[in-house]
Symmetry: D2
Subunit: 370 residues, 4 copies
Amino acid sequence: MSSKSHPEIKVGILGATGTVGQRFIQLLANHPYFKIHALGASSRSAGQQYSKITKWKLNTTIPEFVQKMVVQECKPDAEGFADCGVVFSGLDADVAGDIEEAFRSANLIVYSNAKSYRRDPLCPLIVPLVNPSHLDIIPHQRSSLSLSKGYIVTNANCSTTGLVVPLAALEKAFGPLETVMVTTLQAISGAGYPGVSSLDILDNVVPHIGGEEEKIEWETNKILGGLKSSNKEFDLHATEQTKPINVSATCTRVPVIDGHTGVVSVKFTQNPPPSIEQIDKAFREFTCEAQDLGVPSAPAQAIVVHDAPDRPQPRLDRDLHNGACVSVGRIRDCPVFDVKFVCLIDNVRLGAATSSIMNAEIAVEKGYIQ
Amino acid sequence: MSSKSHPEIKVGILGATGTVGQRFIQLLANHPYFKIHALGASSRSAGQQYSKITKWKLNTTIPEFVQKMVVQECKPDAEGFADCGVVFSGLDADVAGDIEEAFRSANLIVYSNAKSYRRDPLCPLIVPLVNPSHLDIIPHQRSSLSLSKGYIVTNANCSTTGLVVPLAALEKAFGPLETVMVTTLQAISGAGYPGVSSLDILDNVVPHIGGEEEKIEWETNKILGGLKSSNKEFDLHATEQTKPINVSATCTRVPVIDGHTGVVSVKFTQNPPPSIEQIDKAFREFTCEAQDLGVPSAPAQAIVVHDAPDRPQPRLDRDLHNGACVSVGRIRDCPVFDVKFVCLIDNVRLGAATSSIMNAEIAVEKGYIQ
Amino acid sequence: MSSKSHPEIKVGILGATGTVGQRFIQLLANHPYFKIHALGASSRSAGQQYSKITKWKLNTTIPEFVQKMVVQECKPDAEGFADCGVVFSGLDADVAGDIEEAFRSANLIVYSNAKSYRRDPLCPLIVPLVNPSHLDIIPHQRSSLSLSKGYIVTNANCSTTGLVVPLAALEKAFGPLETVMVTTLQAISGAGYPGVSSLDILDNVVPHIGGEEEKIEWETNKILGGLKSSNKEFDLHATEQTKPINVSATCTRVPVIDGHTGVVSVKFTQNPPPSIEQIDKAFREFTCEAQDLGVPSAPAQAIVVHDAPDRPQPRLDRDLHNGACVSVGRIRDCPVFDVKFVCLIDNVRLGAATSSIMNAEIAVEKGYIQ
Amino acid sequence: MSSKSHPEIKVGILGATGTVGQRFIQLLANHPYFKIHALGASSRSAGQQYSKITKWKLNTTIPEFVQKMVVQECKPDAEGFADCGVVFSGLDADVAGDIEEAFRSANLIVYSNAKSYRRDPLCPLIVPLVNPSHLDIIPHQRSSLSLSKGYIVTNANCSTTGLVVPLAALEKAFGPLETVMVTTLQAISGAGYPGVSSLDILDNVVPHIGGEEEKIEWETNKILGGLKSSNKEFDLHATEQTKPINVSATCTRVPVIDGHTGVVSVKFTQNPPPSIEQIDKAFREFTCEAQDLGVPSAPAQAIVVHDAPDRPQPRLDRDLHNGACVSVGRIRDCPVFDVKFVCLIDNVRLGAATSSIMNAEIAVEKGYIQ
């Protein structure tokens, strides 16, 4: 853990009444240096007390000082946002693009959970346990837009995040991957509130989540890629020499509240591939920059490997390390590719709010937030 | 449908009080020519009325004439079994082997849902919509064991059955498959009663079902294989010239009552592979011998193709064609193999009792049951 | 069952794309004399094929002839409605009042599942297994509004219906009741689609359903009441001499798809009260006018009494008699009142669409629909 | 909170591998003065490491020092128990009676969650937020059995506990109650593991829990009663002058993991009864001896009153105050009795392990454990 102490940094939260916004509030309420300062929501909520207009759906109570905070419109000149060192966005995809752009144009710093800028060649798409080095494109983003301070950083789709952490561990230990096949079993909280109708999911599986498979198949290569030496362009996957990983995803919704499960098969480019024991060891020994920097939200262990043959399970394992790690289990030979395993991520913490926060914590260490 | 009328054939049911046994009773109660004649269960149930000792878990009532039937021990000389033209077995794996062998040795005909004899080189492993031609090994089974009449036929594991029907349609249209990757999301009823504890599955996924993956990976090749010309030996997969399909399976349990979902990716040997349109058409046009013979339990359609992007779903689609068909949807390109799709089977009907019954109906048409 | 055969009667369905509307279609598709002729939905659906705009959520397929029917606006002069002998309304409460009134004003007959006219002193509120005699106010309703043919009949709230059938059996056998205490455990389908968010109900109970308790407490007395001899006014509860039943209800939502459970305690006015055996017998022997008339949707048994100590259960018992009966179990002494029992109703069949249809069938027999 | 610091007290746990035993371990792992010293389980588990034989079902990991503890048989002379200042019992009812008696006979102190001694006229039945004064019968229990130290204290059934805390608040403020009607909606964890089969509870309600209603109806009066002045006998309900409360309970099982909901109607003896506002205030202001003594497991608030009309809800509210309080909501007029409300208890914490522990903490303060 970091021994450094930081001066307080005021933060804003966009989409504060929504599912991800509530998690931001829950996770930031006792943060060592980020202080919740401004809450943004839709114009019909603006001007009202947070507790009056929010259908709070977490099993902790609304932090007392937040209950009475007055919600603002999601505009950069609404009260409070101009003072914020960073603004976290939990906005829905349909409005995130324009609002986040407005905040950036106003020279504010946005760490977003929305998908709008993930494919933008100027915006880093960061899974904090994997590729915080991509933050180094920020100066280029600023200068391209003639901004002295404002920029946007995005984190990945929740199920991409759960997949890419173990993939990063494998690439770190054994070099580039060739092929990844993944089936996800995703929790209802991933769809927000009210989100999935109970009539659609009780005693049921919905084998389709709009746009999700494309996100996994595309985002994986941006995240596992590098920055070219100029710090002005991303490499899709790893290095300038590596071919993209061939990713095939099928996404399903299951009656689980929190926690996305992934069933994964992987083929390495290395031939012969590593043994199951080597792979198991690589997962267990994986450490990342967030841990080295000792940022407050970094988990003690990035990947928790489960020995029991029927783990990880969402209900039992999603809370490990406060939802900030990825669980892996059932590591075994694949008759078709090299290795099969099961992974699990808390989709609302590391899969959403925790990633944004940890990304910002790392940016503080690197001087991109002050 | 068959225009033939058959004389009544008395049938016995082993494991009559269990989950599969209850389905046998429900499905056979109004059968045109199979008549429930003897019910077998554990020795502590023997001698008692069926309705008194059975925790009936179906949403139809116990057929009236069955309620008062006296349950027998599962012994071939227990009252009634000797008169049966066929005995259906819904026994648990731990006792099925010995009991079924005893019935066969007593020259009785057993159609079994248990796994005990699936890998036996003398026993056909039949999915009725796929490979009833394997019944032709019956004379060899009988003569090998010096039996004039008795033999055992097995049907496949429930999730294998749901997978192998669409695979058979693809092979019929496009020749041998090379590779199949499948993830299953299986219903709790597949584990019997009491089976899965509610504490293990509410708000949860269990990513492991003991022995299930091996069954899928092995059974697929026996079912899709042929009989050598001697009618005395099975070919693993298709023809004497074909290599086994490389199958990789991961099996998970989800909070669904009935209906196993499969997420499938397939690579053909044919190069270039068929187009998505051709594949869609092959599924829709697939017909099978059970339909040609017009046996009573054959579905009007063997494979139902769903156009909606979020189907099939277990709760909405498991009852189609009285649970005797396989649903297929989301047929689309796979970035890694040739095609991806989702399939669904009613695990307790076509995946269990309906298969045994339909196999026996086909055997009646072929003269293997009289 | 009725030996009478009826000429075909064309019927319309308002709110045809909704949860109750889908049930109307499913239940009427094979009706002996009601023929689906016109479908009404919101103006943005009007003009389109039914199957194109409907999120069909039942586990049977849309009847083939309905799939291609063109949906109309819910206006009496929209194509087809003028020809209908009866129009069934599955409209949402917020629009039902005005639309149903417009249809009645156009001299059409409306059998409504909505709450809008339940408390109207001119409108019968009919549970078909209980009080079809209230139809006799129809002539008064017509004359009050100077209509030659048009009128509105409503059926009760789904949980009221499940309660009032056993209460009617008790009053029929033992005279007026004094007090009823009821707690309901209601299914999600009662809230329509999308209705209850899965995040609100998975692993949860919601101990409140807006307006539901008031409906039970009020409707019970109108239904169990009579018509004054003039056939122009309702008596609240039973006879001109009887005091209203004192009803206290608490309504909760539970993670059940279909089937409302009621936990009931009752105090009789008769002192000493009947014995448990007498009460049990009264439930079993209860018959009603719908059965005497032999209308097509009448259940063979109005009340099914369960002997098993843990029944009725929604998943196992909601389908009894095609969802047209009420199940009762756990009949036993109450330490506080006279008797406690548990009741169960299929909220989307007898609790909604089946009641409207059966009411209309009875009205046909009585000459109120021609 | 207590300012006193206590010397360490070694504790044993009987039934340590079961559902309640796991909660004892989770809750005691970081206790300020109780130190887990001995674990007892069935003879086939004895001699093995705890983590090897336990199907741990909590979403926290097994405390590290417990993982390697060797499990003992549940015998007072098994290693470690003799040193324990108190032994907590989470044993199943079928074995608890004999084992707890053996421990007491060996002069050990047992705080039991089992039902065996709840009705014993020598044993206190204590809900720690309600009647710790009943501990004062301990000297009489000891002397009756000629024991210098050993005794048994029981805590109440989980659903009784959730009911009796708000009832105690009402009696404290408004005097004796006359009548209580309660319907419970109980979580699956109340039945232990494997407990409720998933096939019995998914998409279902089971309206019966064996023996549960009798426990609520009987235990309530012992708990709300007093000790006669001799400290040698219990008064059923309140004082020597008060009649027992007339309690009627119906217990149902619902698909909820943790948290029992109670729907309650109450009649006071006081006439006129208190107003809803007075009742609301009485709940909010209720405090208890456990809080006055400042024992470590006492909640900051004994009763949390919810203002939202749809609360308390098990999933959202069971974790309040670490599961050690009772939630109350929907306080309103009852048309039949005086007031209706909904209550919620975490059945595995305050409803089980937390009660035993808090009882023991109070006993430490009172000198009954040293």
